[in-house]
């Protein structure tokens, strides 16, 4: 397997002096083709900064970022859009489709430089959409698609230019559990069958099911020794160490906050029933 994304000693600092905030602090990170890495961590841990630097949208304060052997930190601002177009596919939380364009046009657009549609681009877009089960939705506007369909169109768009790296930001956040699971399986398939590197930033515990590995980001650094569990009340992934805990029915449960803990204590069976679903 070859390395698709390699971050070496990446630091991103906002502000300066006493007000300086290190969103990422000397991060080393590597993802290979065929891997699904789920990045988790508490709010404010630096997940979005990590994703935007990995996505060539933000330049680090120091360190180097390589995508498929191309050193992004050596490129000028003007060269980065081409890297994003050709080497990275984005899947967003809010789908982020262009509302005036049909589903197939959303996919074709990124292959045609926004100009005239080429037959090749249209064919590829059609193939991708059929592969993702959207053959009957080619000419539908995003407003007429369900959340799951929109996200599949977004995945087709992300795959359109055959990039090596797929970056997914909370891809299941706006989907119900069934659609969310479908999307996750799709991302897994893309990594394993199409040999892409997939990085998913998520709070959703279910994404762990498809992960090759989980990376826990906190205070701007990846922590290798973190054990996680799912808060049975709010379903967020929480770090075991230091979280409010409660033993019930000879098992330990961990919570993101005392509010969730109190809710669980009041009626454990209710929250465990939800979890089993």
């Amino acid at each position: 397997m070859h390395s698709v994304l390699r971050m070496t000693q990446v630091t991103k600092t906002y502000g300066s002096g006493d007000a300086a905030v290190h969103a990422l602090d000397h991060v080393d990170f590597n993802v290979e083709a065929g891997e699904v890495v789920v990045v988790m961590g508490p709010s404010g841990a630096g997940k979005t900064t990590f994703l935007t630097i990995a996505g060539a949208l933000l330049t680090p304060t120091s360190g180097s970022v390589e995508i498929s052997g191309v050193n992004l930190t050596a490129l000028s601002e003007r060269e980065l859009p081409d890297v994003r177009r050709e080497r990275i596919g984005f899947v967003f939380q809010s789908f982020n489709l262009l509302e005036a364009l049909t589903a197939i046009e959303n996919v074709t657009l990124v292959m045609t430089d926004g100009g005239a549609k080429s037959r090749g681009a249209v064919n590829r877009a059609r193939e991708l959409m059929i592969m993702l089960g959207l053959g009957h939705r080619l000419k539908s506007l995003p407003k007429n698609l369900s959340g799951g369909e929109k996200q599949r169109v977004a995945i087709a768009r992300a795959l359109a230019n055959n990039p090596d790296l797929i970056l997914a930001d909370e891809p299941t956040a706006n989907l119900d559990s069934k659609r969310g699971r479908e999307v996750m399986q799709l991302l897994r398939q893309i990594a394993f069958e199409m040999h892409k590197a997939v990085i998913i930033v998520s709070h959703d515990h279910r994404t762990r099911e498809i992960a090759s590995r989980i990376a826990w980001l906190e205070d701007g650094t990846f922590r290798p020794d973190v054990s996680t569990d799912r808060d049975p009340v709010c379903q967020r992934v929480v770090e075991v160490q230091g979280s409010p805990a409660f033993s019930y029915d000879s098992r330990s449960y961990y919570f993101c906050s005392t509010q969730c803990l109190d809710l669980f204590k009041a009626d454990p069976s209710r929250h465990l029933a939800v979890r089993r679903e």
Binding site: T52, V83, S94, L98, A100, G114
Partner: protein, 389 residues
């Protein structure tokens, strides 16, 4: 046209209609005012330009046809001297006196031998011409007699159209009733129209015995009227009888300037306002459309489109809006032009292709300005923002 530009533009029909409507209104106003200006320009100078007079000779200070503040003798020592000079110039083919007086008249309709119905007041250019030379007379008689007799008048066809004069009707002007015996063309000054009587009749009616407004001259072939005018002015000055002469072109131009110098400043203000209306409506609709779509522009940036692509999207939307607005606006002007003066006689429109090109240029400027502010905004959109919810 780029797919995103086309889809964004045509997916919101109401906004497009407002935007195109704003530009169309602006283009319509600009082209209408320009056409109106050209129409007036054409009409006001038209009579002097089309007349058979090569050189206009008036008393000092007479600078144009409309005010015609000139008074020259036709009898007495000075007049005899003048006639002698004019007759003595071999370069003069014909000359004759011409009376021009701005006055009001009314249409009078006899309902019975003792009763009459008097119409509304009409502004006229009352012209007394010499029927022998016909210099300064009707440009072209299209109906009735070509020379009026005693108590008779030839009226401009626009006057006839506007006030319902027919051959045989009565026009009361200069304290007398005149029987309409003919109609002519080319004497429409928009606000006034020409009526023609003989010079002798005009002198009598206007109590101008022994006087005239102008001497009008037709020169022989290959004679320069300007040189002749200069020579006449020089000779008159030597005799301490100051006069001014104007060639046909000079007189037409100064007659036009009389009207347009007053109208132009107003015209420029209204043109400026129309331009601002167009820019504002197009600019605001494109700006709000851009702001509403700023997240989508952020997405495009995030997935690898450059700023130049986004600028092109906005410019193309602006240009398409402007083009549609131009077509609608100019089309409306061209459609309205031929009929406008039928409903409002002063609304004389004359649209030149050069003006259409000028308006097209103005519309391009409008589109560029309308796109400028949204484009600046686009440059500031941070693609990272698309990761936030």
């Amino acid at each position: 046209m780029l797919l995103v530009a086309r889809k964004n533009l045509f997916s919101e029909r109401t906004r497009l209609a407002i935007s195109v409507g704003g530009v169309a209104l602006s283009v319509f106003l600009i082209s209408l005012l320009l056409s109106l200006y050209r129409g007036w320009d054409e009409k006001v100078g038209g009579f002097v330009e089309k007349s058979n007079v090569d050189l206009w000779l008036g008393s000092e200070g007479a600078e144009d046809f409309l005010t015609a503040a000139s008074l020259l003798p036709t009898e007495g020592k000075e007049a005899d001297q003048a006639k002698e000079y004019l007759e003595g110039y071999p370069s003069i083919d014909q000359w004759s006196p011409l009376i021009v007086r701005l006055m009001q008249g009314v249409r009078v309709e006899k309902t019975s031998p003792a009763e009459e119905k008097v119409g509304s007041k009409i502004d006229l250019h009352f012209i007394g011409f010499d029927p022998t030379t016909r210099l300064g007379g009707p440009i072209k008689v299209i109906e009735g007699k070509d020379t009026p007799g005693p108590g008779e008048v030839i009226i401009d066809d626009k006057l006839s159209d506007r006030y319902g004069f027919a051959i045989g009707d009565t026009l009361r002007a200069g304290g007398r009733d005149w029987k309409v015996v003919g109609k002519s063309t080319g004497g429409d000054f928009v606000a006034t129209q020409t009526v023609f009587v003989t010079h002798a009749e005009a002198q009598a009616a206007l109590r101008m015995k022994g006087a005239t407004t102008f001497y009008v001259i037709k020169v022989r072939e290959r004679v320069d009227p300007a040189q002749l005018g200069a020579a006449l002015e020089e000779q008159a000055a030597r005799n301490e009888a100051p006069i001014v002469t104007h060639t046909r072109e000079e007189f037409a131009r100064s007659t036009r300037d009389r009207v347009t110098s007053n109208v132009l400043p107003i015209l420029f203000v209204v043109l400026g306002l129309a331009f601002i209306v167009g820019v504002s409506v197009a600019g605001l609709t494109i700006y709000t459309a851009t702001i509403e779509k700023s997240r989508e522009y952020g997405i495009l940036k995030a997935v690898g489109f450059r700023n130049t692509y986004l600028y092109r999207v906005v410019f193309e939307q602006s240009a398409a809006t402007a083009l549609l607005g131009f077509v609608v606006g100019i089309g409306f002007t061209l459609a309205v032009g031929p009929f406008a003066s039928d409903y409002v006689p002063q609304f004389v429109l004359f649209t030149r292709w050069q003006d259409v090109l000028l308006v097209a240029g103005v519309t391009v400027v409008m589109a560029l300005i309308a796109a400028y502010i949204p484009v600046r905004r686009l440059g500031a959109i941070d693609p990272v923002s698309v990761f936030k919810g």
